[in-house]
Amino acid sequence: MILGLRRSGTGSGGTRLPGRRPSFVGALARIGLLLAVVPGGVSAAPSGAQAVPDRTVRVGVLAYRGAAQARSRWAATVDYLTHAVPGYRFELKPYGLDGLERAVADGAVDFVLTNPGHYVVLEAGYGVTRIVTLRNRVGEHVLTRFGAVIFTRADHPSIRDIADLAGHRFMAVSPRAFGGFQMAWLELERRGIDPFEDLGELRFAGFPQDAIVRAVLAGEVDAGTVRTDTLERMAAEGAIRLDRVRVLGRRIESGFPFLLSTALYPEWPFSRLRGTPERLAQRVAVALLTLDPDSPEARAAGTAGWTIPLDYTPVHALYRALDIGPYAHPFTLVDVVREYAPWLMAWTLGFLILAAAMAWTLRMNRRLAQEVAERERAQRALARHRDLLEQRVSERTADLRRLNEQLAEDIRARERAERALRRSDAVLRRLHAIVAAPDLDSVTRMRRMLEAMCEYGGLAAGVLAKVDGEVYEVCTWVGPLAVEDGRRWSVEELPAASILRSGDMVVAPLEDAGPMGCWRFHVGVPVRVGDRVRCVLEFFGDEPVLASPMDRDVLLLVAQWIGAELARSEADEQLRRHQEELAHVGRLSAVGEMATSLAHELNQPLTAVVNYVGGSLRRLQTMAGLDPGVARAMERAVAEAARAGRIIRHLREFVRKAPFDEAQVDVGAAIAAAVELVAHEAKRRGVALEVERCGALPAVRASQIQLEQVLVNLLRNAIEAADQGGGDGEVRIQAGCEGGRVWIRVSDTGPGLPAPVRERLFEPFFTTKPQGMGMGLNITRTIVEALGGRIEASEAPGGGAVFVVMLPVREDDD
């Protein structure tokens, strides 16, 4: 098998020869092939007659629940490898624990997929090396670590903690099950219980683990241990109730969603043997890393793909502590490195304070922007309604003059008309005041209009309702109506049906008592947004009122105003949602980026600590008379530094942003959207924005919102810089495509970038702005790099700064 693989060097060496003399080359190639067979004396898997036979690669899999289960879980993944790594045929080989170890010892497999505990044994014994780590899918969660839970039934009279287990009956999977026993073993040992000596009875039930849970709940044993998520899964299936279970020694780990009693350990690794060719191992690693988490292959295995290999030191530590597996000598390590803890706490606290400050600043910004927009809108509305009012008043005055001429002798009639005019004038002024009030929200505004109209018309009640097809939904209302906000009816039951049928104002007596109450008179008018009837405005009373043409005009005017208000609030809502989304992305990126930066900053000194202490220990070990206590302390120091690294990593995973949906994004459209978002600020600062497109722009693969985030960051910086530059500032955005890359160039006429600034530009927390956080360009670079692109900053020839973003035009490669 493996000989067959090594031969690939010889075989390809023969075929690589230049083809100047075909007959001779052919002979050589034949000899090469002949040789390939002779020295190893192994058959070369004769499959197709002409086709080059694929080399067989064997993947040994730990079949802890039988070969059939292992096949159904992993066959798709192994087939995927055959497909993804051309030239090789991958074969699945299920084994038990011992069988797999023998297969590794004999070199009968090329790759091994087994649990972390067994992996550590194979690593120590046979030089097996992990190449990737499994991402386990449990329900909606994707996890790269797992642990075990130790539990008893909730009403057990005497077991409250792990230490109480002594003398009781305990059930686990098997002595060699990593999650099904060994993890719990360590927890028992830590509390002074030797499971083989101190328990009343230790029973091993094998797989599936459900049997252990059932045995504990049925009282056949007092307590047991299973892998994390087993309890939650059985509860979800309805097999048990979680409130019947008492978890012992419960632990909380940030970001880990399941009941837990032990430390967390890395998931199953996929590993190679010592003799597996380097190139093949790399191709397999790449194939597994690029396996789509949502692909059928990953789903069949119950995984969410694979990730780069985790550190299996915690597993080693467990085996060392239990004096099993590859470790013959026990260690009882002393807590010397406690002083490490305050230092780490201080960092974590500092990070949390920064994150909170960031969130607070963003929220204040948004509120301010909303207030400014609101005020501007109100000013516009005020001007519009002043014009409208003036027009109306002059029309009314003309009416009055005509009435005066026509009905000069009929004083009573004139008085009535004057009264009506005064009333309508008064109501128009009042309505205008309502419309123009700057600090009213839209619902209050509409309710006040209804009140004004009721008062004006001497009506008892008014209602504004949304109409969508057959559904009539109350938006707001005044007066004694039998309704509530959000109440829905079928429109056919209501007087509003006649308004919709006619599409016009309806003034009519009511004969039946409708569901809104017993009224004798109804007046209603449709409210249009654009051409569509979106709402109806209705009033109810006991007297026939609002009958004069002037009243009707007023009513129609109110309907128009309400229509305009609705249209405006819809547009506002859309803009607000977009801005909110952008701000959300900004916040997420900022927090994630800060965590990443801090992690990087901390990882460097931690790495140095590990190196220094590890190097010192190794030097000391070569000398005579080394105090074993010192050696233990130094080992412990290394382990603690590694633990600090893991805590930082957890923290970062916890705050890490959700992945963004990538799609083919039109760069031109993203530029237009970003320009629109900053246009207002540019105008306010008197900076001109110029967009220039150089030729066709192909789409790039990105998330639209992230690309906008990049452009908005660069444009805002450029506008601020251009404003500082004095004179007429200008920001120029150019975009084009060259050599498979889309480039976007943002240049400004600002003070430019002196060399010391330019060098530190992309560092986190570096800023030249008095109020800046120094995260904008850092986030921008992270996004651009995540999209496979590059960002560069330079000085423009005529002064000012230039930022160029380059993004690859990606066809979806392998």
């Binding site: 060097g9 010889t10 060496g13 023969g14 690589r16 020869l17 230049p18 003399r21 001779f24 002979a27 050589l28 000899i31 090469g32 040789l35 002779v38 020295p39 030089g127 090396t129 380097e278 790399q282 690693a285 790449v286 890393l289 690029t290 990730t307 780069i308 290999p309 985790l310 550190d311 030191t313 990443t596 992690a599 990087h600 990882n603 460097q604 000194p605 931690l606 790495t607 140095a608 600590v609 590990v610 190196n611 220094y612 202490v613 590890g614 190097g615 010192s616 220990l617 190794r618 030097r619 290394v638 382990a639 530094a641 590694a642 600090a644 690294g645 990593r649 970062r652 995540a786 496979g788």
Partner: protein, 204 residues
Amino acid sequence: MTESLVVHVVDDEASVRDSLRWLLESVGLRVCTHADGEAFLAEYRPQTCGCVLLDIRMPGLSGIEVLERMAQDGRRVPVIVFTGHADVPLAVRAMRLGAFDFIEKPYSDSLLLERVQRALSMRRETRDREVALEETRRAYERLSARERQVLAGVLQGRPNKLIADDLSLSIKTIEVHRANLMQKMGAHSLADLIRRVVQAGIEP
């Protein structure tokens, strides 16, 4: 061939460089440190380079770019890439460029040393093979023109008699040439001779 191989460390942070030297030298390895990718590429010699420990994120030339340059040179020196966090796309790119392994910082010192030793033993193997091929090529250079003609005939699988006819020589002479060239090429058998020639890519 037994001269000791050098472990190259490329990291922009002095404390990491210095501490790695301290750790690697504690197990008797030869170490050479570089503050950036440019300096490393300028200074390293593939003949003595055992393996490279490369930080992925550095100012100037990034770790990926260093890998790209090394891949262009076609040198198969094992490179262990360090990263601050589990960045899968970056890992895939590094693997495609032939990185030997990918380790997250901070790591455990024994894990790192084990990976370094593994990389060195692999490098030793490939280097031994390279040396053997070089010897075969030099041996071939020492053959006379006649011996090369005989070798070509042998490689085509022609019996001595036909080679003798082709070259208008006696079978006896061919046998003498054949014995000489076997000795000069250091081959124990016909199969051994063919293997050496084919592996060294020699075309008589």
